[in-house]
Symmetry: C2
Subunit: 324 residues, 2 copies
């Protein structure tokens, strides 16, 4: 069996070996900095594991997997400019360390680099792989745009929120799994199942992220707790709480959303208490469970060598039990 | 013969018919706005004409040509953010009309859209077309980065400047012609010649742009004259003048470069006079002639049906005689 850790290390090795051009250093230094920051490498690992599932050879998908990881890191880089975020994975963001212009341009180069890597797949599957990648890449942009649009609204519905995180986050996990499957020789119907598996995992992952951001342990989470609350994000937690809250509780929730001047720690503690009181925390925990369960069921029903499913199961289990 | 105008109109039709997704409007409205602004459509016309040269059917290259035009417009959009430019083709830039964040994200979506269009080419030529597109797209980023880096320097050499405009501007014309040729069924050696033709044309085009920016007629040029001088750009004109200037003239040139507070019209007039006095104007006009001549010679030596060369000749002639 190829463990999550082993595949993750394989991606780190590919990152280290990827020969970026020497110059201009001002273009490529921020890219190296971004790619070296690490992270769990969930998306490329999914691509490798999905490829291995169908052909027993994860190596075939390394270039495409790295392309997906480069694209993912590009989205983080540009999102950080748009959110004016000072830190990413505990280090200054590229626009802080260099400049917004440097971050825009190096991000642009990363999209092209992602396509360069994606273009390395066998010509026989290139049109199919590109069709998936083009679609999910555009959907990620749409998701980011909806996320920005939602900042101006207070009437975002649960289904709008779920659709937004599906686009912004989940489809890229789905696309990674699907592309790995295609490279591994999966038939269209099987590749679709891997896509559905990745999307379910991605939805669980993002909702879990929302929970960790509000209820996580600051020691293990690696960043400050309560960021979404302070930013006034309309997460599923907030939407559910507002939907259920009545009378005095509803007023308190809306007052908390609109009180930028109040003590941050108190605001976080009060909002969190309301989320729990209205059942929002429970509802999101249930939803996370449902999406993980959905992913597992898709895996159960796949008609491939059972032993090869182990890696994908481990990915799902690792994500389920994560605390950061 | 397919005239420049006819092919340009074909591209405008393709732009009008390109079915962008409906939502989110906040993502696609800025893209429609950018693409509808027009321009000469030189790059996609080159792709169509190059395709027609080898197979007599320009239609085959329409998607790829449009992809190149979308990519070109993406670079203008992001460059305008980086330069903080208020106007483009007489209209407010996207970051002015919407916001910098909207401009970043819609620009990102345009890169993906460009690749979506490029991916429509026949699978038999897809790897070759992508190899060219990936390379020139990355080179355009490098060129923009060098251009930004040069702002901080006063010791930019002529060969550095020529290499910068080759990357930032010329290779995309070369890539357009090469991609059109590949789609039209050209052999590798012929495709290379079309690339060289496009690059020579692109170098002539950019140097001519520098001349128009300094010596153009404001009536026909369509924007204010002297922008490069006021921005302190190290164009070939400036580099040549500084190289030739001695004593008092050299001092005046450097004083003009570093005098942000002085009267703009006087600064432009004085600098322009020094460019002419030092022979810089003459040197750039000669260089423009040389590159156009080079493009024509490449065309002369192509072993294809002479009648089909007419369109490419017309493109070259139209550019040569342009006043905007």
């Amino acid at each position: 069996m190829q463990s999550f850790e082993k595949l993750s290390n394989r991606i780190n090795q590919a990152v280290a070996e990827s020969g970026l051009p020497a110059g201009p250093a001002t273009l490529f230094e921020p890219i190296r900095y971004t790619m070296a920051a690490g992270g769990k490498r969930v998306r490329p690992v999914l691509a490798l594991a999905a490829c291995n599932l169908f052909c027993g050879d994860a190596e075939r998908a390394v270039d495409a997997a790295l392309g997906i990881e480069v694209f993912h890191n590009f989205t983080l880089l540009h999102d950080d400019i748009m959110d004016d975020a000072p830190l990413r994975r505990g280090r200054p963001t590229v626009h802080e360390r260099w400049s917004p212009n440097a971050a825009i341009l190096s991000g642009d180069a990363m999209v092209i680099l992602a396509y360069e890597l994606m273009s390395q797949v066998d010509p026989s599957v290139l049109p199919a792989v590109l069709a998936v990648f083009n679609r999910v890449a555009m959907e990620v942009c749409k998701g980011q745009r909806y996320d920005m649009d939602f900042e101006q609204r207070t009437d975002v519905s649960k289904s709008e929120y779920l659709r937004m995180i599906e686009l912004k986050c989940a489809v890229l996990l789905g696309g990674a799994a699907r592309i790995g499957a295609i490279i591994g020789g999966a038939a269209e119907a099987e590749a679709q199942k891997l896509y559905d598996f990745g999307v379910a995992l991605g939805l669980a992952f993002q909702l879990q992220d929302d929970l960790l951001d509000t209820y996580g342990n600051p020691e293990t989470f690696g960043k400050a707790i309560g960021g979404d609350i302070l930013a006034g994000k309309k997460t599923f937690l907030f939407i559910h709480a507002l939907e259920r809250a009545e009378g005095e509780i509803r007023k308190r929730l809306l007052r908390l959303l609109r009180s930028p001047g109040s003590d941050p720690q108190q605001k976080i503690a009060e909002t969190r208490a309301l989320y729990t009181e209205t059942g929002a925390e429970r509802a999101v925990r249930d939803l996370v469970f449902v999406y993980f369960r959905q992913a597992e069921m898709i895996l159960d029903n796949l008609t491939v060598d059972a032993a090869r499913k182990t890696t994908l199961r481990e990915i799902s289990d690792t994500l389920k039990n994560r605390e950061r």
